[in-house]
Symmetry: C3
Subunit: 312 residues, 3 copies
């Protein structure tokens, strides 16, 4: 594997999940693989799980890990070609990406969607800029359109907790006071397409995700109907895609409750707003898998890094 | 030892001090103890000594150390139970503490008193939140009410520099332009109760500390009298406790001077404002132990982490 | 070598360059040298190359590396002697430098010129404060007047790319919208004085650098004339020195172009503003050595740290 930008970079998902679960059994067995190699984690946005789990995954593999908050510690970057850089930006992505490539063997990037300019967000300018100009492998720690490390962690969690061969899995929109990106939902859907599962998406009208991503997916606007007989319910807020970045509804009826959940397992990528996205009773029950998902972030990252290191 | 939240967690103080001094002689002898283990240092406030000494202590023990400024790099945390989280806070301590527990074997927390709401400060919501919800040991890197790593470093320093069996030790308030927490004074007093020493506290009226902590301590309002025949003078500013968080006096007469100090050794936890808290002549003399105290922060942290690692 | 504050600390430059090139061939051969030793990198200003390359250099030598943004994570420092510290600054350089010396074996400092008060900048108060009060070796990661790690990296790059015994090397001022320090230009000139080269400085009138540094250097105000038959052109903006810190000109005619460059190699320390300092056609051509220079920052730092470690 050259880069890990997209869940499809893994090839066969079931194989990747199995390999990650094997890593989880013995996280230090590939400590030699990263010896005398360095990964640089560049954060253009805040992070708790991604920062700690990716750093841990790197250390488990014997990598030296350098963490940098690019926004506050580095220089403002220009991404456009041919610009006369006489404004606020002091470095071009062309130089930045090549320079980082001199000091590390792998670079991982987190750069969220701005949720103002759809075209710019969909171009994933930060991640794609590093992919284009860096001479080293690039890992997506959540870009403006995808979060494949989360999706792989979710796939591991599903594998560990499924009790039927072909579970019913529902992705259910939830209310949230702020405008949130589509990255987690997008990558979850792309991962689901690689699963043997009955997959249903439910959200209020106006919250349709990018139709290229949801193509062939079953969308049910009636949440109650969608949740019927679900084995797993993945809850997530996202802002409107058509009315880009807007909060169209904070309808509390869409909050996940114990009653709605029934016997299903509850999943969420975290951070989660209690009693807005999901009620306490769900998170505090043993139906919640959110901490398992967070734990699997380490092995998701470790699998991606192991695959990359094997090809270096 | 499960956690290090309070000086009393050490059990017998004299034994702990001896063990720390032995570590200081040979800091790398327990390098295997931390192998393939990780400590996460979470800072909700600024730090120089605590950050560097705790990181160093961890590395001396072979631990992988992850440092994170929670305030600027992570998410704003909610600590209340049952809240509808539709305001500024995006993650609950319940999730945050459990999540960090997935990536580390020990977590250390620095979260100062806000000095506005006494009840909230005394609840030590950040530290106690992690203690309650984390599944890994928790270390106090200064909470709203205590700073036990500093107190242990002070105990080591006293042991190294005492020349009489039962020294006279004075804790003397000093003026300061800003409102400062009580944590260092509290933990120093609690540590003093475990010492074979004549202990006196001196401060202007109105600066009485929490009476539960100073119970059975000798308080002398006349600084000159208090300092008579002192062997060690520990100087520290704190804001009012009864008139919570207020600066009642900046009276320069309380500044420590060479003259007042006499032959005693001078101690302070640092950072210290020169010629406000203490005059240059004291800090620049060989009666000052402040750098020794700072140095002993490493062995204080190393002793606490060693004790925790031995029980993991 | 005790400290690395100035290019002259290296002694014979040619020997240092050869040693650095040998390190580059086998960066991990001195991994034992830094074992059980720690370097603390203190940043008072932003950094990309310096942060990552110095951290990498330290790790290559087996050092434990602690990185700290002193400005945002630590305390505001006082540098004046005898001050009554009752204003914004909470710690004196005397304590800070001695304290850091307790936790590290080497300290590296980045503190830019403020470009407002020439006398203060020339005193290099931060770097010199650490030099004066620290008990451990000090490395200059760019001070208010010099950037010797950059100058050594430049010397390595020149050595690797020169095709004639005595090349013609031109330092050419370039326009820039912001007021920039003189540090890189100063150290480059000091390094050039140790080279067997024909060296010419060119800039608009009013942009003369510190005459003590440019003493005996050839200065040609006509850029075209200066560039004639150049083998290497080092481009850099700096603000006025006589009219201290002022931007006197943004004259686009001084931008480096492919046409002006001729067959010469192009050098710049980065970050660089494209189409302001230099046109795309230069940076995107194989005449540009900027990425090589950035790469050599690792070996420049590694050489300096190796020399210091050998004397510890």
């Amino acid at each position: 594997m050259k880069n890990y930008l997209h869940i499809s970079d893994l090839g066969n998902l079931q194989d990747a999940v199995k390999e990650a679960i094997a890593l989880k059994q013995n996280p230090y067995q590939f400590k030699e693989l990263g010896k005398q190699k360095t990964i640089c984690l560049l954060f253009f946005n805040n992070s708790l799980r991604t920062r700690l789990s990716t750093q841990k995954a790197g250390m488990n593999l014997g990598l030296d890990v350098m963490v940098m908050n690019f926004g506050s510690e580095g220089w403002q970057l220009e991404y456009e070609d041919g610009t006369v850089m006489n404004q606020g930006k002091s470095e071009h992505i062309k130089e930045a990406a090549q320079v980082v490539s001199q000091y590390a063997d792998i670079v991982a990037i987190r750069a969220f969607a701005g949720l103002i300019d759809k075209e710019k967000d969909e171009a994933e300018i930060v991640l794609k800029g590093f992919e284009k100009y860096a001479s080293i492998p690039v890992v997506n720690m959540e870009s403006s359109v995808g979060h494949p490390l989360q999706a792989l962690a979710d796939a591991i969690t599903l594998e560990e907790h499924k009790t039927v061969k072909k579970p019913k899995i529902v992705l259910s929109w939830a209310p949230h006071p702020k405008s949130l990106p589509h990255a987690v939902a997008n990558s979850f859907i792309e991962m689901m397409k690689l699963q043997d599962a009955e997959f249903v998406i439910t959200h209020p009208e106006g919250y349709e995700l990018n139709p290229e991503i949801t193509k062939d997916c079953k969308i049910v606007y009636d949440q109650e109907k969608a949740l019927e007989n679900a084995n797993f319910v993945y809850v997530k807020n996202w802002s409107s895609y058509s009315n880009y970045g807007k909060v169209l509804s904070e309808d509390k009826n869409w909050m996940m409750t114990k009653k709605k959940l029934g016997d299903a397992k509850f999943m969420h990528c975290l951070p989660v707003r209690r009693n807005v996205v999901v009620e306490d009773a769900v998170l505090d029950s043993n139906q919640s898998l959110v901490i398992e998902q967070a734990n699997n972030r380490t092995y998701s990252a470790q699998l991606a890094l192991k695959r990359i290191l094997e090809k270096l």
